[in-house]
């Protein structure tokens, strides 16, 4: 879907991005992770040409984006900023309608699409008429997301999208983010410096340092197969938590799911998340369902913990 080849950006003598290459598959969520100044944001902004590369190639769907007109390219790529970048002089509805209006949709179509998104993002229709400064930080970020999604672009770029939110709001939005079906159809590239966030949201993580990619892999690969000391050190402090997050729950039979207090939970959740659910709901165990939603077993706290140690010992031997 997206191919980046030998991409570089130099600001004078500083090599902000230094000949990196990576690929993002369709519907994949790639996280660019690193400390500030590592070149992750510069890389992201080159993908919609907010920054023009010094050298290298970027292909989206096989087409070289440097040969396209920047305005038209950008209208087909969703963009979410850390400080949401909402227009303070536009109402929420007007903010969401910016791209459709640039694309000259008729007003009925815009209205319908906004209503649809508002519902998915848990905003109320009353909020459409207010100005962004009347909303809370979490609501503003949802509007920012709606604005990026409204024209249903296949690619979404997110620059520290949840960086300005407090911890409670952030984990709430993380959960929503993962549940949003619209996002499952997108190819997402997200920049963050928050290791936890990267592990929670990323299918794959590109750990960057000094303009180069240090390691590109799944969260589990980074944790249990670090390429060098830099990767290891980078993850050390939050290692235990990350391990829980990186390890998937013991898988139910093909097409099955979990169930807790009558609520169905998707199969690809992390071990960490299931442990959290157990703790919050004070339940004894979680039911495992097969593809016909028939209960085929249960998982208790001890089962989950032993799954964790099993996975860990098998991987550290590699």
């Amino acid at each position: 879907m997206i191919t980046v080849e030998q991409l570089s950006k130099h600001f004078g003598k500083i090599k902000a991005v230094n000949g990196i290459s990576f690929e993002v598959k369709e519907h994949e969520n790639l996280v660019l992770l690193g400390t500030s100044g590592c070149g992750k944001t510069t890389t992201l902004k080159m993908l919609n040409r907010l920054i023009e590369p010094t050298s290298g190639k970027i292909l989206i769907d096989g087409k070289n984006i440097l040969e396209q007109q920047p305005e038209l390219l950008r209208r087909g790529i969703g963009y979410v900023l850390q400080n949401n970048g909402l227009f303070p002089h536009y109402t929420v509805a007007e903010n969401i309608a910016i791209v459709p209006q640039l694309l000259k949709w008729d007003s009925k179509r815009i209205e319908k699409r906004i209503d649809e998104l508002i519902e998915k993002l848990h905003l109320s229709t009353d909020q459409l008429k207010v100005y962004p400064n009347e909303l809370s930080g979490g609501q503003q970020q949802r509007v920012g997301l709606a604005r990026a999604l409204v024209a249903d672009p296949p690619v979404l770029l997110m620059d520290e999208p949840f960086g300005a939110l407090d911890n409670v709001t952030r984990s709430k939005i993380h959960a929503e983010f993962k549940a949003l079906d619209e996002l499952k159809r997108k190819t997402i590239i997200m920049v963050t410096h928050d290791v936890q966030e990267a592990f929670e949201l990323g299918d794959r993580i590109c750990l960057m340092d000094q303009g180069k990619i240090v390691q590109n892999g799944t969260p589990a690969e980074l944790l249990f197969n670090p390429k060098n000391h830099f990767v290891k050190d980078f993850l050390r402090e939050q290692r235990l938590q990350l391990e829980f997050r990186a390890i998937k729950a013991p898988q139910p039979p093909e097409g099955g799911a979990f169930e807790l207090h009558g609520a169905i939970i998707a199969a690809d959740v992390s071990l960490w998340w299931l442990l959290g659910q157990l703790k919050f709901t004070k339940a004894e165990s979680i039911s495992v369902l097969d593809h016909q939603n028939k209960k085929v077993g249960t998982l208790g706290f001890d089962d989950l913990m032993s799954e964790f140690y099993k996975y860990k010992s098998s991987h550290t031997h590699e």
Partner: protein, 523 residues
């Protein structure tokens, strides 16, 4: 002062027509120039917000323009644009530029970078970002700039009357020269009110929220144009001949009022400052002007004085007037000042004025040369007696006289001298004298009679044709009323006079004011 004290209200009612016209002209002038300033300043501000390397020079130039004194700026305009509305509008527009450019620049560069980035990332073009994001968000700051410019313009527009562009300045400066407080206030109060009202209205616009500001931004240009249209450009040219009279001349019994009542002269008049009047006559912008008979520019611009055959212009013999306590404090002062008495005739004074006004020699040099030629120049004694303070009004002749007196005092006494030249018109000078800010200044008998004492018409009629009678009357009255002494006259008579270009007067066979009247009434 007046025997019948006219109240301000009476004056304003009596002059309501003029007041109304002047107010409209004032609003018009303010907004025409403001409108053009916005047309120029807004794009310029946007441009330097894009090309930051030009912001320094452009803001610098606009800043320098702002520091040029208003009158000087108006003066620069005359050779380029003549007199009337054009130079006034250009001058006002130059003053309005800085706040508009600066605030546009500040407003646009101050727009949140995240918002601009979002606009760009969503695929807006440069122009869309400008009109949909940057300008709306910068609007409150830009409006603040326009508000500042408006208030500046209302103030500076009073000076437009100096170059025949009308406005409330006509009353203000007329009133200052005529020592007529009511007239000053009749101009100053409406001008101040205009400034306050516009400032208030614009402050309200500034505080509107985003939704309303869209409508406001759309209506503002319309409103500007509407206000600007109040200014029906005063027809500077019209009728057979055009006269340019100073605001002072317009309001005086021995000026335009006398011309109307005694001669029945009806001529198309525009009001103009005497600083530019002579030049305008020379350049065929004006045909008849109200000048002073000893003015050096008479010679410089080949103008002739029309004979005042019905004697409406009283004699204006110049003499120093001194506060009596100053004479007591400086016992040698009177004797020294009288050294000049009878020394300067009309033609000598015209010659001296010509040298300063036209040859641009410094008043000090002209004064020194003259005193040397008369054997009156002595080197300064560098004494350290008290300090004698000399005042002068704001024109060349007074500067020359002040310089002469300064040299005479330094050479003949041990007093020190400080000169306060350029004290505006009669009112400012005379108030400075009575309030012990200066010790003496050269005054003219006619001015003392008509502008300061202002006796009733009968007294004026009985005095004004005879130079000695006038001198004795003002001498007696000043002593009684103000404790101010008229010393001996210097000799020349700098009376009001109507003048025309020599060539034109010859062609039209006009020698007297009555000739002029006959010519104007002929078909």
């Amino acid at each position: 002062m007046n025997e019948h004290q006219q109240t301000l209200w009476e004056f304003m009612r009596q002059q309501s027509d003029k007041l109304f016209t002047q107010t409209l002209q004032h609003i018009g002038l303010t907004f025409i120039s403001l409108f053009i300033a916005v047309l120029i300043g807004l794009p310029l501000g946007i441009w330097i917000a894009r090309k930051k390397q030009f912001s320094g020079p452009i803001l610098g130039i606009a800043g320098v323009l702002q520091t040029i004194p208003s009158i000087a700026l108006l003066g620069f305009m005359i050779p380029l644009l003549g007199i009337g509305a054009k130079p006034a509008i250009v001058a006002l527009l130059l003053y309005a530029l800085l706040p508009i450019i600066r605030n546009t620049y500040t407003g646009i560069t101050g727009v949140d970078a995240a918002v601009k980035e979002a606009a760009l990332a969503m695929g807006m073009s440069k122009w869309q970002i400008l009109f949909k994001v940057e300008l709306p968000l910068a609007m409150p700051v830009i409006l603040a700039g326009i508000r500042t410019a408006t208030v500046i313009n209302v103030g500076v527009a009073t000076l437009a009357s100096y170059i025949a562009a009308g406005g409330l300045g006509e009353f203000i400066f007329g009133g200052i020269s005529l020592n007529n407080t009511n007239m000053i206030l009749a101009g100053a109060i409406p001008a101040a009110l205009l400034a306050i009202i516009f400032d208030f209205l614009l402050s309200r616009v500034q505080k509107l929220n985003f939704k309303k500001i869209k409508t406001a931004a759309a209506t503002l240009p319309l409103l500007l144009i509407l206000m600007a249209s109040f200014y029906f450009i005063p027809s500077a040219y019209g009728g057979k001949l055009t006269a340019g009279f100073t605001p002072e001349f317009m309001g005086r019994q021995d000026g335009n009022l006398g011309l109307q009542s005694k001669y029945g002269l009806k001529i198309h008049i525009i009001v103009i400052s005497d600083a530019v009047m002579y030049k305008a006559a020379y350049e065929n912008q004006l045909d008849v002007i109200s000048g002073y008979s000893t003015d050096g520019r008479l010679k410089a611009y080949s103008l002739v004085v029309l004979d005042d055959d019905k004697r409406i212009f009283p004699p204006y013999y110049a003499a120093p007037i001194v506060r009596e306590d100053a004479l007591r404090k400086f016992p040698e002062l009177e004797k020294t000042l009288n050294l000049l008495s009878g020394m300067i005739t009309d033609s000598i004074m015209t010659e001296l004025n010509y040298r300063t006004d036209y040859l641009h020699q410094s008043p000090e040099r002209v004064a020194e040369d003259f005193l040397r030629s008369k054997g009156l120049l002595k080197s300064s004694r560098n004494g350290n007696g008290g300090i004698v303070r000399i005042g002068s009004k704001i024109f060349g002749e007074q500067y020359i006289l002040a310089s002469m007196y300064s040299m005479l005092i330094k050479g003949n006494t041990d007093y020190q001298v400080s000169t306060k030249t350029g004290l505006g018109g009669t009112k400012i000078c005379f108030d400075a004298l009575t309030n012990d800010q200066i010790d003496f200044y050269p005054e003219y008998t006619g001015t003392g009679l008509l502008a300061i004492l202002q006796p009733n018409v009968k007294t004026i009629d009985s005095l004004s044709t005879d130079k000695n009678k006038t001198y004795h009357y003002v001498r007696k009255e000043f002593e009684a009323k103000y404790n101010i002494k008229w010393l001996k006259p210097i000799g020349f008579n700098n009376a009001y006079a109507l003048m025309m270009r020599e060539k034109q007067a010859e062609d039209l066979k006009i020698k007297t004011i009555s000739d002029l009247k006959r010519y104007l009434e002929s078909k």
